[in-house]
């Protein structure tokens, strides 16, 4: 509109997060039964995902070099990471292959905002999606006090950077796989759910006992180690100090590769468009 300047991008993103939060609140209040079941199921699932490793640690007084409280810390960390993904990248923003495969990326591309802004703001659901995040953060605080870590400003900064980096690795990994849907919309539509299941199913286990080949694979091809195990080791001061820097570095590398592949896919999408819709609107 003439005479009206574009708001600062940060302000704009805050507004978009606000709109998404409001719509989420409307959904919660519109159907309380669905919300209770959804929220309860998510919370129960995050507890159950931790329970296997937690019960093992309780039964055997820890797992290898990890004490029970340290195991709780690692589990809480990875739960907070996956919970943050559910809170900020819901509605198939994390499962981007579904949107690409179903031709729904068009719905985002026609909107007057950059794609990256849409990705960062559209999936925000702080009310319905925050069950795992709250449990993770609560357990993180509890286990930190139990272990007796000296909580300094530096340590909190490292925790926040590590959490953000782990989230970035998960997002990049999902977009790396999800980009396949640009070339194979139908065949790869569900690839993100498989890649995300890989991360969430394997994240509760400490990787200490694995051989070098398998461990290397779990830090590169399937970066499960960056979701909980390695950053937790860094934050707990287990092993060499370079471990603290490994997750942010991995986030940077995965981000660059995912961004390159995703842009390549977008160019392909620009040439071919969506092949999934028939002229009368139905999906093939």
């Amino acid at each position: 509109m003439e005479g009206k300047s574009e708001p600062n991008i940060v302000v704009r993103m805050m507004r978009l997060w606000g709109i998404a939060a409001w719509m989420d609140l409307l959904w919660v209040t519109k159907d309380l039964k669905q919300f209770v079941f959804y929220f309860g199921a998510e919370a129960l699932l995050s507890v159950a995902a931790m329970s296997t490793t937690l019960l093992l640690a309780a039964r055997f007084n820890g797992i290898g070099a990890w004490s029970t409280d340290q195991v709780v810390f690692m589990l809480a960390y990875s739960t907070a990471v996956m919970g943050a993904m559910e809170t900020f990248f819901n509605f198939n923003v994390l499962e981007i292959s579904r949107r690409i495969g179903r031709g729904q990326l068009d719905h985002v591309l026609v909107q007057p905002r950059p794609l990256w802004v849409a990705i960062l703001t559209e999936g925000f659901c702080p009310f319905s999606g925050s069950g795992s995040l709250l449990i993770g953060l609560g357990l993180l605080a509890w286990s930190t006090s139990r272990i007796g870590i000296a909580v300094t400003t530096g340590w909190i900064a490292l925790l926040l950077v590590s959490l953000a980096a782990s989230c970035a690795v998960v997002l990049a990994f999902s977009y790396l796989w999800g980009s396949l849907a640009f070339w194979s919309p139908r065949g790869a539509e569900e690839v993100c759910s498989s890649s995300n299941v890989m991360l969430s199913a394997l994240r509760p286990f400490p990787l200490d006992g694995l051989g070098p080949v398998l461990l290397g694979g779990m830090l590169t091809f399937a970066p499960i180690g960056f979701v909980g195990w390695l950053p937790a080791r860094g934050l707990l001061g287990m092993g060499p100090s370079w471990q603290s820097a490994a997750t942010p570095l991995a986030a940077l590398l995965f981000g660059i590769v995912a961004s390159f592949i995703f842009r390549k896919g977008l160019r392909e999408y620009g040439r071919t468009g969506s092949q999934r819709y028939l002229s009368h609107g139905h999906r093939r």
């Binding site: 309860g40 039964r59 290898g64 690839v191 498989s194």
Partner: protein
């Protein structure tokens, strides 16, 4: 011959024989279609099998770490626990017993299923067996072959244990299918999204069935309480029979009791819910 000569007997037996063989052919074709739908759609499904390989490798490594200081725990040696873990993964699909009922309700194809010349139970069961065949060929058999490389003995405790395990697996699948139909009926009854009920069930089953941790190794005596639940009857019981832990006849009796008890409930719930089914999408 009670007044029936041979041609009469043939006339009576042949129609029955033909009907049975037509039925079996129908099951086979349905299973084959389900199998090709999995393998033919895209190779992405192989990722799920990769997750299973990685999960079993991780679990085996965790057991080796925790049992290094406890050679025998809950009456089980490290070797038995490793065998238990591997066999649990080999039969993961049978233990989970997911037949896609919720998806069918969600995408609306349940409506067209009523028009097919086969009952819902027969359709879903045949399709599930077909999908299992793919899982067996691409995951379970390779995993079984890789057992020596993983340092795991994949054989049952004895020949008798192996035979009883086969019987136990039949009961296990029967319990799993009954639970699946009960969950599906609950989904219709409460008009819930399939994800909520699926995830709740997964969360409960992972904890109480003994699929990941043998119930005997749970702390605080939890296992003794869980072993009487249907989830444990479907998963823990056959695995215990396989490794020779526990009285097999008692375990089979508990499984049979659940199978007999759950199916009437499942069928009644489906009948009671039939009119509530609504098909959207498609």
């Amino acid at each position: 011959m009670n007044g029936l000569d041979e041609p009469h007997l043939v006339n009576l037996v042949n129609p029955v024989k033909n009907a049975v063989s037509a039925r079996l052919r129908g099951y086979g074709k349905t299973a084959a279609m389900a199998a090709t739908s999995v393998a033919g759609e895209s190779p992405i499904f192989l990722l799920d099998y990769a997750v299973r390989f990685l999960r079993v490798a991780l679990l085996l490594s965790v057991w080796r770490i925790v049992m290094a200081r406890h050679p025998v725990a809950g009456g089980m040696s490290l070797g038995e626990v490793l065998t238990y873990t591997l066999v649990a993964e080999l039969f993961a699909e049978q233990f989970a017993c997911r037949i896609g009922l919720e998806d069918s309700l969600w995408d609306g194809n349940v409506a067209t299923r009523f028009a097919r010349p086969m009952s819902l139970v027969e359709q879903f069961t045949s399709e599930t067996v077909g999908k299992w065949a793919v899982g067996w060929v691409l995951c379970s058999i390779p995993l079984l072959l890789a057992a020596p490389l993983l340092g795991v003995d994949p054989w049952p405790a004895s020949v008798a244990a192996g035979l009883l395990f086969a019987v136990s697996m039949v009961l296990s699948v029967s319990i799993g299918l009954a639970l699946e139909f009960i969950m599906g009926a609950l989904l219709v009854w409460f008009q819930l999204s399939p994800w909520s009920i699926n995830r709740t069930r997964d969360a409960i089953a992972a904890l109480v069935s003994g699929r990941v941790i043998p119930l005997a190794l749970l702390p605080w005596g939890l296992g003794r309480a869980f072993e009487w639940l249907p989830f444990a009857a479907a998963v823990s019981a056959p695995l215990r029979i396989f490794i020779g832990a526990g009285d097999p006849l008692c375990l089979l009796a508990v499984q049979a009791a659940w199978a007999i008890g759950l199916w009437p409930v499942a069928l009644w719930m489906w009948r009671a819910n039939r009119q509530r089914l609504a098909g959207y999408g498609g």
